[in-house]
């Protein structure tokens, strides 16, 4: 994977801390700095748009608002949680400066991937050009998917130096890069897409219910309900009303808390009303402005940049992998085969047919696929 980095990227000190009140090296200060949008600052809309368009033209897989050092500190720590989980570790190698919400999240993702023998499927994109004269929104060609297994076999767990095990660790890093830059990721589990329905990723977050068979998911204690979002039928409001989860529940205002998690705004929901898959996407910041459904404040801050580029924007970067462009990234059982179609690319429950939210002008197949 190849990512561009903003010229004025924000750095995280190697000796970062979780002090309260925060100081210059605190995680909360680092996070707050990421939302400064004045001239010359990292989230300045004009600078961001320019940087993301250049990244698209250079065929980059995403755009970082943070320095290489910050990426390394955050993602290496997430990786250490993942590896501790799959090795049944006791957490001794996990950095004590991480919050319990980050630790719980990556433990559960790792366990889900391992349990369901999950692979990562990433659209193979090439920059094609702008939409039109005067409209620089990037258009891509798609030539299928690139796949890497993320789960470890018995021999690999016994010997992590095997080439295949190293390949999977690199795959997990690629997943983390895509996740951190805001790729739209669908976890395939629907019986409409697989011979037998699998475990829903959403089930990790679900609340307990009046249905006696539905117990609370292991991450529910750290969630709150996201009442509305713009993905799938939720864009029309009613059918996904209140079904999404915002993770974690410790980020509730327009300022970073102390201590501060690195995952500040993860959205998880179903892709459909029936036999759904699940999606996950790291957003910039949760909607914290009551009554405005998050269109103001930090949550709405990047809207103009998103409109100009149709890239997703997260806390730490931006990504061309969006369901609205037909460039969804998938976590799916390794046996899954993407069902590619001209109007929906990989068709999956929630996007089996051409949906009103697709912008088909932004993607086209290579001749190789026709």
């Amino acid at each position: 994977m190849d990512f561009a980095t903003a010229a004025n990227a924000v750095n995280l000190a190697e000796n970062f801390n979780q002090n309260s009140p925060a100081n210059g090296d605190s995680v909360s200060t680092f996070i707050d700095n990421l939302f400064q949008n004045g001239n010359g600052q990292v989230r300045n809309p004009a600078t961001m748009t320019q940087g993301m368009i250049a990244a698209a033209q250079a065929n980059n897989d995403g755009y970082w608002l943070i320095t290489d050092q910050a990426v390394g500190l955050i993602l290496t720590n997430w990786l250490s949680i993942w590896m501790d989980q799959i090795n049944n570790g006791n957490g001794a190698h996990i950095d004590p400066r991480l919050t319990q919400t980050d630790i719980a999240l990556f433990r559960q993702i790792a366990a889900y991937v391992q349990r369901n023998e999950i692979a990562l499927f990433v659209p193979n994109l090439d920059y094609y050009g702008p939409v039109d004269v005067g409209n620089a929104t990037p258009v891509y060609t798609i030539d299928g998917y690139e796949k890497v297994d993320l789960f470890f076999t018995g021999p690999e767990l016994a010997n992590m130096q095997l080439d295949t095990a190293i390949g999977k660790i690199l795959g997990i890093m690629a997943f983390m890069e895509l996740f951190a830059t805001g790729a739209h990721i669908v976890a395939i589990s629907s019986g409409q897409d697989l011979p037998h329905a699998g475990q829903k990723f959403w089930s990790l977050f679900q609340k307990s219910s009046y249905m006696p068979w539905r117990n609370a998911g292991p991450l529910n204690q750290f969630c709150r309900t996201a009442y509305m979002h713009s993905h799938y039928s939720g864009a029309k409001g009613l059918s996904n009303l209140g079904s999404a989860y915002a993770y974690p529940n410790t980020v509730t205002t327009e300022a970073a808390p102390s201590p501060c998690p690195f995952v500040c705004s993860l959205l998880v929901d179903d892709t459909a009303h029936i036999a759904a898959n699940s999606f996950l996407q790291l957003e910039g910041w949760p909607g914290t402005k009551a009554g405005n459904y998050g269109i103001s404040g930090r949550h709405g801050q990047d809207f103009a940049v998103h409109q100009a580029t149709k890239w997703n924007i997260s806390t730490y970067g931006a990504s061309p992998f969006s369901e609205k462009r037909g460039t969804t990234v998938f976590l799916a059982p390794t046996t899954w085969q993407p069902d590619m179609r001209v109007t929906t690319w990989a068709a999956y429950q929630g996007a089996k047919t051409l949906q009103s939210w697709y912008d088909t002008a932004l993607i086209r197949p290579t001749a190789n696929l026709l």
Binding site: M1, D68, Q69, V71, G72, L75, T76, L120, F121, V122, N124, D143, G144, Y145, E146, K147, V148, G167, L170, G171, M173, A174, E177, S209, Y210, M211, P212, L238, S239, L241, G242, H273, I274, A275, Q337, P338, D339, M340, R341, V342, T343, T344, A347, K352, T353, L354, P365, N368, L369, L370
Partner: protein, 182 residues
């Protein structure tokens, strides 16, 4: 031959007859019960059209009925969407109702519980999905006149025609940010 899905729909109507949706939903119009009645009427129409289609002689007669069946199926799907929304609202209302507001099955005395709504939603969805597949597979399409006989541009169906699925192994190298601990 088109399928009327009679046994599947009969199973749905049986569920509807015994359904106890739950607490009253204020200002809901049409109500879930009204929507289900409309669905039954529309399904009956569909089944009558299917009967006529299956006994029609010749492709032309079948093609004429195809448009009517398609319109009927669209009506059914529109009702399904409304019913799904009404069920969502009903379930939310049930969930938020004061304890004791619902008549609960004896097996689950401690829960605010109505499995019928979920089952109904799933059954309606699965029958309609099967009807869509059946319709797409077995009907004779009416010919579409074109002003230009050379115009071969096909109608683009919503589903889109399949293209080759190309999955290759991802080639990865260690990212620049990764500094293994020594």
């Amino acid at each position: 031959m088109l399928n009327a899905f009679s046994s599947e729909w009969n199973a749905v109507w049986k569920l509807v007859e015994t359904l106890k949706p739950g607490v009253a939903v204020k200002d809901q119009s049409p109500t879930l019960t009204e929507l289900l009645t409309s669905l039954k009427m529309q399904v009956t129409t569909y089944q009558q059209l299917v009967g006529a289609y299956n006994s029609a002689q010749g492709a032309e007669a079948q093609a004429a009925l195809t448009a009517k069946i398609a319109a009927s199926l669209e009506e059914i799907k529109a009702l399904q969407t409304q019913i799904q929304s009404a069920i969502t609202v009903q379930m939310e209302a049930n969930k938020n109702a004061p304890t004791g507001a619902l008549q609960m099955p004896q097996d689950f005395p401690d829960k605010v519980y109505n499995p019928g709504l979920t089952d109904l939603n799933l059954q309606i969805h699965s029958v309609i999905s099967a009807m869509e597949v059946d319709f797409a597979t077995h009907t004779t399409k009416p010919s579409t006149p074109s002003d230009d006989p050379e115009d071969e541009t096909p109608d683009i169906e919503k589903e889109g025609s399949p293209i080759k699925s190309n999955v290759t192994d991802m080639k990865l190298t260690a990212p620049s940010w990764y500094k293994p601990k020594k």
